[in-house]
């Protein structure tokens, strides 16, 4: 049994991204010292979209990078399926920048922990901020997002799916209930 409900539709998705872009700009007093870094895979697409929105508002080029956190995961040992390493592409110096780290769903916080370690190995940013599309709760580490698209308290047998037109054919956030038998 599986039961889906739509949490955010296409228009809602756009509006949420626009609001996040404004919040990031307000908090950082403009875009002069920020760079956006997305966590593969969907965080990467979100980061590019956010950067585009910010550029439209500020009329200024923004640096965007992608982070592959595979090498920093704490669950590599017991994993059955070894994730494919796709590599980090950050072609600018992170030192002194305000880095806005972007991911689709904030859950246990372990991915963000790994991303923080990976970023700090690349240099010494002035600050790292976290922007997520959905915060679904259930943190296992003391990590909190600075910019949240939508808070969705969930139970552990539920799953949040962020769909993006770049790979999933549509923009939406869906709550999936994996029913118990």
């Amino acid at each position: 049994m599986q039961d889906n409900s739509l949490l955010v539709d296409e228009q809602g998705f756009q509006r949420t991204l626009t609001r996040l872009a404004h919040e990031i700009l307000e908090f950082n007093k403009g875009s002069s010292n920020i760079a956006i870094v997305g966590i593969r895979t969907r965080g990467d697409f979100l980061a590019r979209r956010l950067a585009r929105k910010i550029q439209e508002i500020e009329h200024r080029e923004l640096q965007v990078g992608v982070l592959d956190i595979t090498l920093y995961r704490d669950d590599l040992r017991g994993k059955l399926n070894q994730p494919l390493l796709k590599g980090t592409d950050i072609f600018f110096d992170v030192t002194g920048k305000n880095i806005v780290l972007v991911d689709d769903v904030l859950f246990t916080g372990r991915t963000v922990r790994a991303a923080l370690d990976a970023l700090i190995d690349l240099g010494r940013p002035a600050a790292i901020q976290l922007a997520v599309l959905v915060d679904r709760g259930h943190r296992e580490l003391p990590i909190k997002a600075d910019f949240v698209g939508k808070n969705c308290p969930t139970s552990s047998d539920e799953e949040i799916q962020v769909r993006m037109s770049e790979i999933d054919g549509e923009d939406a956030v869906v709550l999936v209930r994996k029913g118990r038998y």
């Binding site: 592959d68 920093y72 040992r77 994993k79 070894q82 390493l85 590599g87």
Partner: protein, 306 residues
């Protein structure tokens, strides 16, 4: 995509997908090597032993750097300082090491088949760092990585391996790997140093270096082992240089860019002239850098699979 095997013993029979995965994964590690902090925590808590029964500086250093850059704990074990001198068998050495809770063993041994043997008697992942005149898979993988980086797809590329083919594990691993990846492979050397039935591996044979150069896109120039000179496979180094040495004049006759590889250490002005070794088509130094990245990829892929 995990590899289909637990050990890296050789490229003979290794599926194309596995080679592809290793080469693709190495690209990510090349990026790590360009960072200010050239270390990732991936193999934290894992222990790797470098079991070198044959002296080697560069392969061991390359493996050790790769292991340390993945944050593994590293133990070095070399034959001249060990119990091997006191008469311990390979099997006993391996069992002793295994009791110390080792995750991966990197082995170099003068006997062909040593790595295969080890993989049968211990539980740890085994990586062959050269066994006799059999295989040296990580060298061939880094050669292929370097070629792909310089010239693009290996498919249809013509690589000629020049020198002492008979005693060369580098040649053998390169032949297997390149053939699997769809490259055309030939060998060239004095008759005494080319094995008689080498065509059966699907390679073309040249005894004339100028004819070989005329057909090749890449020359992988092997080291002439001066230590073997006593066995008189060819009359003199001078004569070898005359007939098989890779010189600028020879290459210019080809009127094409021919990429030059060499597994090192080079004997300048014996198998390769100094101006070719340092020339713009030589990727000998990139091979050294790529060696660390490729070994990191192998250690990562074997060390984190369940």
């Amino acid at each position: 995509m995990p590899l289909s095997c637990r050990h890296l013993l050789g490229l003979d029979g290794m599926p194309k997908e596995d080679i592809q995965t290793i080469l693709d994964t190495a690209t990510s590690f090349r990026e790590v090597l360009e960072r200010p902090i050239k270390r990732v925590p991936t193999l934290q808590g894992k222990t790797v032993v470098n079991l070198f029964f044959e002296s080697s500086t560069r392969t061991r250093t390359s493996f050790e750097l790769a292991e340390r850059r993945l944050s593994a704990d590293v133990v070095n074990f070399s034959a001249d300082a060990s119990s091997v001198k006191k008469g311990e068998s390979l099997k006993d050495t391996a069992r002793n090491i295994e009791m110390m809770k080792i995750d991966t063993v990197v082995i170099r041994h003068a006997s062909s088949g040593a790595a295969h043997f080890l993989s049968r008697v211990i539980d740890a992942n085994v990586i062959n760092a050269g066994d006799g005149s059999h295989e040296h898979p990580t060298q061939a993988l880094l050669d292929m990585y370097s070629l792909r980086e310089r010239r693009g797809s290996l498919e249809g590329m013509h690589v000629c391996i020049v020198g002492d083919i008979a005693h060369s594990r580098v040649a053998r691993s390169n032949i297997y790997g390149l053939k699997t990846m769809g490259a055309e492979v030939s060998v060239c050397g004095p008759r005494t140093l080319v094995p008689r039935d080498v065509e059966k591996l699907g390679v073309r044979v040249y005894f004339d270096i100028d004819a070989a150069i005329a057909d090749a896109d890449v020359l992988n120039v092997l080291r002439i082992q001066l230590e073997r000179q006593e066995s008189a496979f060819f009359p003199s180094l001078r004569e070898y240089r005359q007939y098989f040495g890779i010189t600028r004049e020879r290459l210019e006759r080809a009127k094409r860019q021919i990429t030059i590889l060499h597994p090192g250490p080079i004997n300048r002005d014996v198998e390769i002239s100094a101006d070719v070794a340092d020339g713009e088509n030589s990727i000998i130094l990139q091979q050294v850098l790529n060696g660390v990245a490729v070994r990191m990829a192998v250690l990562y892929l074997l060390g984190t699979s369940s």
